[in-house]
Symmetry: C2
Subunit: 228 residues, 2 copies
């Protein structure tokens, strides 16, 4: 359903430093997969997620959606696929600053053309699911770190995407809230959603069906958990 083939992502810093954030990465994500991506800080996990999530074009290599090379797609078609099919939870949340929690969560539904009444209802529902029913009108700077993270999660789920890409979704959550989020994702996975998570949490990696390990911009392991 999503695939990257021999992807390179290179950055230039100043005049003389070249960083190979991704150095020849190939990964096939099948419908219904539950993948945990693990690896050291700086190894390329977020960069890989941005390529898979169609948010960033690689320096070289191909990205395919349902078998079609995305570079052959028109920009508005790509944006439509992103909005309709993919829910992305950013490592730094990326919430709009002067926008309340409920407005932040409604945003992808506005883009999808959903009516105002239905939008509000679904945004409230999503925020209640992550335990933020009493923080609807708070701005991001009026929320704790873990609350901001949960708004980002609610926003990624509100369009009911078929693919969820979550970059360290429990990094700022206490173990109880983290367990609730993981249970929520497991539920969605059972109902057919494809899930790719970046995580530093060994427990999370143990519960994923498949584990992909990355180091220095390369995939070093790609295996299925026996019981996952």
């Amino acid at each position: 359903v999503l695939e990257v083939r021999d992807v390179q992502k290179t950055y230039q810093v100043g005049d003389d430093i070249v960083v190979h954030a991704l150095d020849g990465v190939s990964l096939q994500i099948r419908k219904g997969d539950f993948i945990a991506i693990i690896g050291p800080s700086g190894s390329g996990k977020s960069t890989l997620m941005h390529s898979i999530g169609l948010l960033d074009h690689p320096t070289s290599g191909e990205v395919l959606v349902g078998g079609t090379d995305v570079t052959k797609m028109a920009e508005n078609e790509l944006a439509r696929v992103r909005n309709k099919e993919i829910g992305f939870v950013f490592q730094a949340f990326n919430l709009l600053a002067r926008t309340t929690a409920i407005e932040n969560v409604e945003l992808p539904l506005i883009y999808a053309g959903v009516s105002a009444t239905e939008r509000k209802e679904r945004a409230i529902e999503a925020l209640k699911r992550v335990g933020l029913g009493e923080r609807l009108d708070h701005m991001p700077n009026q929320l704790s770190g873990g609350q901001q993270q949960r708004v980002a999660i609610a926003r990624a789920l509100v369009t009911e995407p078929s693919i969820i890409l979550a970059d360290e979704p429990t990094g700022n959550l206490d173990s109880k809230s983290g367990i609730e989020v993981m249970a929520f994702l497991q539920e969605l996975h059972k109902s057919g959603v494809t899930i790719v998570l970046v995580t530093h949490d060994a427990h999370v990696a143990l519960h994923a069906a498949r584990v992909v390990r990355i180091a220095d911009g390369k995939i070093t392991q790609d295996y299925f958990n026996k019981d996952g």
Copy 2:
């Protein structure tokens, strides 16, 4: 060395919502303590850290530094104490955006009046300690989440403060980097530094000498680990 007495922190949201982020908190931090603050998302940990760190005035209650009520101190004296004695690692890092890693780490030394040559030397040393010797000239948006977190840690340590307040310093780090940071903090603690950490990591809480648990803006437990 630092103390909060019956501190309340209340926020008003909109016209009708009142949030009691801290609801009568008293905590004495003794010289040489190693304290882990744990509790659910939204329970008041970051708010408590901002009060202890002299970054925020409580709505009521007292904050004392070395026995002196800070409300009796002049603002510039308070700023001097903060800069000289306290190193603060923020949950959201709070790095300056258009400033390189090394410049971000030099900032507290500029305020402290350290010479340019010594500043640069100490900033490079601090960044090397957290494994970022090859990222000195990167801007925050050219760094991974865990790398930004480590720049924030380096910045908090570069003034060699007597008190380190770290709000979830390993939240974005893989277990190996997280272990290195904790080993670094343990080393500093052995050399006499007072450490207060907010953490969601049960392992970190196990290694602290003292654990303070907070829920709904109140301290519910304050105990010493037998072996800690």
